[in-house]
């Protein structure tokens, strides 16, 4: 019953924890980058996107 409520995302539902555990292990194995570097890398992507959009909008105006 418990797992019934942990769907993996069609629109916005929580990811399945078992699937995620397997995927993250594989990603670590394939990429071989330590978690601190991944935090910085993905964090930079997340921060840069809105900054770039705002710069483009300011330049357009």
């Amino acid at each position: 019953m418990a797992r019934l409520f942990l769907p993996l995302g069609h629109h916005s539902e929580p990811i399945d924890p078992d699937l995620w555990e397997w995927l993250s292990t594989k990603m670590n194995h394939v990429l071989g980058i330590d978690s601190g570097a991944m935090v910085l890398l993905l964090g930079a992507v997340i921060v840069l996107f809105p900054v770039v959009v705002m710069v483009l909008v300011w330049r357009r105006r």
Binding site: M1, L6, H11, P14, I15, L19, S35, G36, F49, R60
Partner: protein, 454 residues
Amino acid sequence: MSNERAGSKSSQKKQGIYYGWYVIAALFFATFLAIGSRQGFGVFVKTWEQDWQISTATVSIAASVGWLVNGVSQPFVGRMTDVYGGRRVVVISLMVMAIATIGVSYVTNIYGLIALYGFVISFASGGISPATTGVIVARWFEKKRGMAMAVLIAGGSVGGLIVVPFLSYVLIEFSWQTAYWLVGGLALALGVPLLLVVVRSGPEDMGLKIDGEDSSGISDSEIVVKSVGPMFVEKWRDSLGSKPIWQLSIAYFVCGITTASISVHFVRWAISEDISTGTAALAFGVLSGINAAGVLVIGLLSDRWQRKNLLGAVYLVRGIAFISLIVLPGSSAIWAFAVIGGMSWLATVPLTASLTADVYGVRNLGTLFGFANMAHQLGGAAAVMLFGWAFTVWGSYDVPFAIGALTLLVAGIVSLSIREKRVSVRYSQVTPVPDGAAVDSGSGGVGTSSQGGA
């Protein structure tokens, strides 16, 4: 179809990138954060179980409450969008979501999680769903409405691919509290300002025309008219007496049934077929990748062809994917489903939202699509439980999958039966209304008579 034009030929000169695409980019980022943070819940389940000494079932209460609250919130936030404008709703929703997300980092027990995630975050994230963002897109775009919606919806997939790993690595490097604090902080520090700076509820707020059409060549004496579809309504309740809203909602209800059930039961089905969790995860990853590409292709096509034909085809293709799970051996079925199902996974969202806007106009789109979204979520919740019950009783997913295929056949037929050329503003308009006395701001348009179309 042209949206707004002068009585005589007007210039169609383009002035760089149409501002609507910047609006899409900002909404894309808000969707990216909202969906990413909701999906990220699954990353922390095991940590919470250990930290709070509770079972998966207990943590799941927060997720299930969140699912239902998110579904029920959609008509409300949709109505707010129709009344107060999309910009206010998305900004306030993201602000509330961000503060509540930071609040989760201070939670010390399941009750706090249920209150903040199950109720506050899930309700607020309804304000950054297609019921609200779709309305803004529909007001900015008409000719490329399908493609614009598809790009926005794809933002959710990208959010899952980037935000969920980000949360996971923050969890490993720091703690789950830091992860929630960071996501909430990013939404508050970057997402909210981005929406405030970039997003406007419609092109008229910036003195622009829908689709970026240039009105510089229009003289004062020329009359600009807006197109009005044959089923455009002043009050959303008026649409309930017509067929298309029910056809779209019934089909979308089936969408909820079939996607939610697969999302939850795919791995369990794979295990029942002696397929490893890893292979199931990989297959689901393939499905997600094809899905992201598929939604963009469908979006592109939907601006050229009749949307109801594509919508019907999407449901029928998904039905074939369900049948493949029953008739093929497990090892083949999983890949057949990943490829065939992936093509249809998210494509229903831009098609249903665009069709609703085409048929009823954008004045009440938030409310109408909000109800469709609620049907989708409630159908999904019910199906997840029924599929689980059926597997417990019969020890196999064959019966629920067959029921899923049957409901998809019905959804396909119902979608194909929509008389789009008679009810959609893309193909048929009634008496044109002079600009300034618009019946439906943003629905835009042209024409005085029926137009052909693919």
